[in-house]
Amino acid sequence: MTSTLLRAGLGLALVSLSTAPAVGASRFVADPYPSTYQAHPDGPLLIQNATVLTGTGQRLDNADVLLRDGRIVAVGDALQVDASVTRINADGKWVTPGLIDVHSHLGVYPSPGVGAHSDGNEMTAPVTANVWAEHSVWPQDPGFQAALAGGVTSMQVLPGSANLVGGRGVTLKNVPATTYQAMKFPGAPWGLKMACGENPKRVYGGGKGVAPATRMGNVAGYRAAFIDAADYIAKNKPKPAKRKGWFGSDKGDSAGDAGGKRDLKLDTLAGAIQGDIRVHIHCYRADEMATMLDLSKEFGFKVAAFHHGVEAYKLADRLAAEGVCGALWADWWGFKMEAFDGIAENIALVDRPKNSCAIVHSDSPEGIQRLNQEAAKVMAAARRAHMPEIAPERAITWMTANAAKALGIEAQTGTLEAGKMADVVIWNGNPFSSYALAEQVFVDGRRVYDRSTPPATPRSDFQLGQELR
């Protein structure tokens, strides 16, 4: 008896070692597929004389940025370093944090778009909280490298929007790798992808003749799922310790849960309720976003961001007041009814209230390559509307600090502050332009892209040798 219990305990200890959940973290967010990402920083580097947008809302002219051991060490005027530090004269260049896209389907809907790789929507049931986008990611998607050339150093890859609850999203560092685990952002929380509106009701009611067929069916579907999750949490509450043996309770696991058979779907929803998994909701219309905010209160979860939100401008004050980000396009509209009210100033209006969190996102392998240009469109549209001028140091936060905040990685990246990951882009000039090009991109202090010396061969295995004749 004792030996059996000991073995069980050892097994649990081993599991917790290999999956490394945060200390005390719920088993709902244990990770059996852990990150193997390794930073490989270059030697210390001083970027000099640049226009620096820090991502904290500051612009520093003629400033230096010092990278060492994969971290930002200092940002400021005329930084003094010893002769061993490599220098880049960035006179006339602009330097920003590495860009972050909170909404990508790279790897899960890769290029080329063949059926065999169409892995973004588990369209077999309206609630598939059990699936994880990371298990669909094809690391050889050429889109990753194209995004890197656009200055994107991190991204969240999400399941698609066919389902009410599509599954877990994963945050990746944008480095070439053979496995997705080697891209997986260490310590980043998962996202939970949910979807409002037309897509789920079209796919299920319209396409398969099962619920949901309507928006009211959608909401009933979310509620049923979260009722199950709340019940699951209750059943998994740690029971009072019975103090049967010297080794502690004979019930529950190392994280204090009570055990019982795991349900992958409910694990994810429970993780979302407990705040360990960030809730990202595809939602276009203002009224539906408001419904989803009520839903979040009904079940006690927090919405990290509404994605696409073409009507977010109608609800901008409430989003800011509730601390919910709006992850938005600059100009997509009209391709379906719920996108009919899209306006070019959406991001500017969402950005306007105090404590707002406006984000430029892509949802597109083309858009992710030029998030900076998307922001430039918004800045121009705001000027056209006679809104107060949006400065570059403000706009850069839409794809750096604010995006990091939505993903829960703001302590590690998203700004050029001492101690942060050295995820940095050197641009050929003001990034808010059609003509802006990322010249050098650093991830954790390693130069992973250099426009002046393109790699001799493509980074993606798929593209290798395709040009041979």
């Binding site: 080329p112 997509w332 391709f335 009210d341 899209g342």
Partner: protein
């Protein structure tokens, strides 16, 4: 409310409206734009500090020190750039309203029996009251090629050029749209080879080499007549095709049948740049396409436009996906082509003169030259840079309202605070 009025600039909105009201005696289609950087999109290139005189909706003069005839309103450009109104691409603007709602979409024919109907003409469905038009126009777009979209057959049907001045009818000749390669393979028995087989049979029918009552006829009598027109060189056949091998076959076919073609998309067109140039075949480049989105686009590159231009191929722009609602992205295509090696003047030409020439309307629009329609845009900055916007659009010399359903929505919520 306050923000709009307080921050409103003297120009262009307020002043221009006032001028127009005061000068009711002169035609609403008269105008002198003074002191502009006139990007003519013609052999004259950009002319600094130049004036453009418009009378009766037509450009009468381009030069320095022009004087305004009595009653003709003057717009001071103060050095800002004046361009021809831009090309919106090959779109469904006015023939689709909401892409996902089939009741609002008229761009594709899906007839099961005899799906190959070149006589199908989408311009007949054109709705000049579409809300897409002011949205595109606000960004400096003055005309588009209405394209027939492939529905039932790889020969999609005809379209034509429409101007966004509220007029109901197309200008210039019709164009015939067809699609080749993987994207049309489902419509041609699962093989791109069958596209040439079917095309050849249609050509034979149109040339009268197949009996009109043949049980194997692909075309209706109207279809034969329509195709015969294109085979005789009237109107251009715009072919959406990406793979270099397919473009090579297309060039051979066009040379053999002596038809005027243009390539649209053309992801791998740069690989055949000398051949395209020699055959004088223009390409509508999707200048943001650099990924192998399909196996037909393995060679996609952002340098496509630049490489084609260097070889002497006329380069215009067109985008895929939601080209209609996103027509305002056309400037971004041109700007990115310039960022990747295309000369700026060719970037502008690809949005103005070249598409007008390709579509057979360059005698009317596409450049700022005397005798052309006064379809003009005054810009707040570089028109190829998304960081800038169109301040005023004139079509046929008439100032277009710089408003759309979207600016109405914007202004409503710009002035509101929290919404219950």
């Amino acid at each position: 409310m306050g923000m709009l009025n307080k921050r409103r600039r003297a120009w262009p909105g307020a002043t221009l409206v006032a001028l127009l009201v005061m000068t009711t005696a002169a035609s609403a289609q008269d105008l002198l734009v003074r002191g502009a950087t006139v990007a003519t999109a013609s052999a004259r290139g950009n002319v600094e500090d130049a004036d453009v005189l418009v009378q009766g909706g037509i450009i009468r003069a381009v030069g320095r020190g022009l004087s305004a005839p009595a009653g003709v309103p003057v717009v001071e450009a103060k050095g800002r750039m004046l361009t021809p109104a831009l090309f919106g691409g090959i779109t469904e603007i006015g023939i689709e309203e909401v892409s996902g709602e089939s009741s609002t979409v008229d761009s594709a024919l899906k007839i099961g029996e005899q799906p190959l109907r070149p006589e199908f003409d989408v311009t007949l469905a054109y709705n000049p009251a579409s809300v897409l038009i002011p949205v595109a126009r606000l960004d400096g777009i003055g005309f588009t090629a209405l394209g027939a979209a492939t529905g039932g057959g790889f020969v999609a049907g005809q379209g034509g050029v429409v101007r966004f001045d509220g007029s109901a009818d197309p200008i210039g000749p019709r164009a015939l749209f067809l699609r080749l390669g993987a994207a049309a393979s489902e419509l041609t028995g699962q093989s791109r080879a069958a596209q040439w087989m079917l095309l050849q049979q249609m050509v034979d029918e149109a040339r009268g080499q197949v009996a009109a009552d043949s049980p194997h006829a692909l075309l209706t009598p109207a279809g034969r007549r329509t195709l015969a027109r294109y085979l005789s060189g009237q109107g251009r056949i715009v072919v959406e095709v990406d793979r270099a091998a397919d473009i090579r076959q297309l060039l051979r076919w066009a040379a053999r049948e002596k038809v005027k073609i243009a390539v649209a998309g053309g992801a791998e067109a740069w690989q055949l740049a000398p051949e395209l140039a020699a055959a004088k075949v223009p390409v509508f480049v999707d200048a943001l396409g650099n990924l192998p989105t399909t196996f037909d686009q393995i060679g996609a590159t952002l340098e496509n436009a630049a490489r084609l231009q260097r070889a002497g191929v006329p380069v215009a722009f067109a985008q895929r996906d939601d080209a209609s609602h996103n027509a305002r992205k056309m400037r971004q295509l041109a700007g990115n082509a310039v960022a990747n090696g295309l000369p700026w003047a060719d970037g502008l030409a690809g949005l103005t003169r070249v598409p007008a020439e390709v579509l057979g309307v360059a005698d009317q629009i596409g450049s700022i030259e005397p005798g052309k329609r006064a379809d003009l845009v005054l810009w707040e900055g570089d028109p190829l840079d998304v960081a800038h916007y169109a301040e005023q659009v004139w079509l046929g010399g008439r100032a277009m309202p710089m408003r759309s359903r979207q600016t109405e929505l914007r202004d409503r919520y710009l002035q509101r605070n929290a919404q219950p």
